[in-house]
């Protein structure tokens, strides 16, 4: 009997099923770099918020309009740098895997990631301008987590548990309003770095 051939066939079937339906070139390094950028961003935001005022108890922090714009600026720069690095590392890995970067799988992944992410982002901007600043940090974490869970069907399955961890952290953060930056640093920084390292070890660069 030609056992070897059928073993090969079975391997080919599994490989083709995952290659044709999931984006498998997500690089662990992109998680690590996004986490580091997030930590730097959180540090910068921390400076903006706490350096320009006399703190009299953490609940009485005053944010001027100017500071809000500065914070949004920091957030945008952080986002752009993290995305650029992520795209760079993922492109490199896709080339190695001989997987096209822009195909049906990537498009499906991005669309499913972006639906909860954009909805949450817009909601947070609205809340920010209405003055509900304390809720922004928990909500961004929750929506980021939902986006990851939603996108995990189209990429490596570990993304799902990262998403669940982010949702849990976001819910926890609602109990510590005023410590938003700290939770942000944990969720977007530490968790991303930890997952990036795990993925890197499991799947290589």
């Amino acid at each position: 009997m030609n056992q070897e051939k059928y073993k090969d066939d079975l391997k080919d079937i599994k490989d083709m099923m995952s290659r044709s339906s999931r984006f498998i070139s997500l690089s662990g390094l992109s998680g690590v770099s996004a986490g580091i950028v997030a930590l730097i961003g959180a540090y910068a935001a921390n400076k903006v918020v706490y350096s320009k005022q006399i703190v009299d108890g953490y609940r009485n922090i005053l944010l001027t309009h100017e500071m809000v714009y500065e914070l949004i600026g920091i957030a945008l720069v952080t986002l752009v740098v993290a995305l650029t690095l992520g795209i760079f590392f993922t492109t490199r890995k896709a080339k190695k895997n001989k997987q096209k970067l822009w195909d049906t799988q990537t498009q499906r992944l991005l669309i499913n990631l972006l639906i909860p992410l954009v909805a949450g982002g817009l909601l947070c901007l609205i809340l920010l301008f209405k003055g509900f600043i304390g809720l922004v940090a928990p909500l961004t974490l929750i929506f980021f987590g939902l986006a990851l869970v939603n996108a995990s069907k189209y990429t490596l399955t570990e993304i799902r548990s990262l998403g669940i961890a982010e949702i849990f952290l976001g819910l926890l953060a609602t109990q510590f309003i005023g410590q938003g930056l700290l939770f942000w640093a944990i969720g977007f920084g530490v968790l991303n770095i930890a997952y990036g390292i795990i993925m890197q070890m499991r799947y290589g660069s």
Binding site: M1, Q3, Y6, M17, R19, T104
Partner: protein, 96 residues
């Protein structure tokens, strides 16, 4: 043994056809170029294997127009699904 061999499907012996079926099993639809990219084969080669799977009744297609360019979307039929699952089960039994 004879029972198992009966379920092994000649249509899926070929690597390209096996690849086409595997990809279509986990996607609702795939177009010609996506399949071509996944399998790394020439137009003619892919077309002839797709035709043979169509003739067996395992694969079906619908033509659409995307930006006025014809775009053929392939999908697996119920019959194709059944045959493919049988084929995989037979392989697994053989290997056990």
């Amino acid at each position: 043994m004879k029972e198992i061999l009966k379920d092994l499907n000649k249509a899926f012996e070929n690597k390209v056809r096996l690849g086409i079926m595997s990809a279509l099993m986990v996607n609702d639809y795939l177009d010609f170029n996506t399949l071509k990219g996944l399998l790394d084969v020439t137009d003619g080669n892919l077309a002839s294997h797709l035709r043979s799977l169509e003739n067996s009744g395992y694969v079906t297609f619908k033509k659409e127009f995307l930006d006025r360019k014809p775009n053929t979307q392939y999908s697996v039929t119920d019959e194709g699904k059944e045959a493919f699952v049988k084929h995989i089960k037979a392989i697994e039994q053989l290997l056990n």
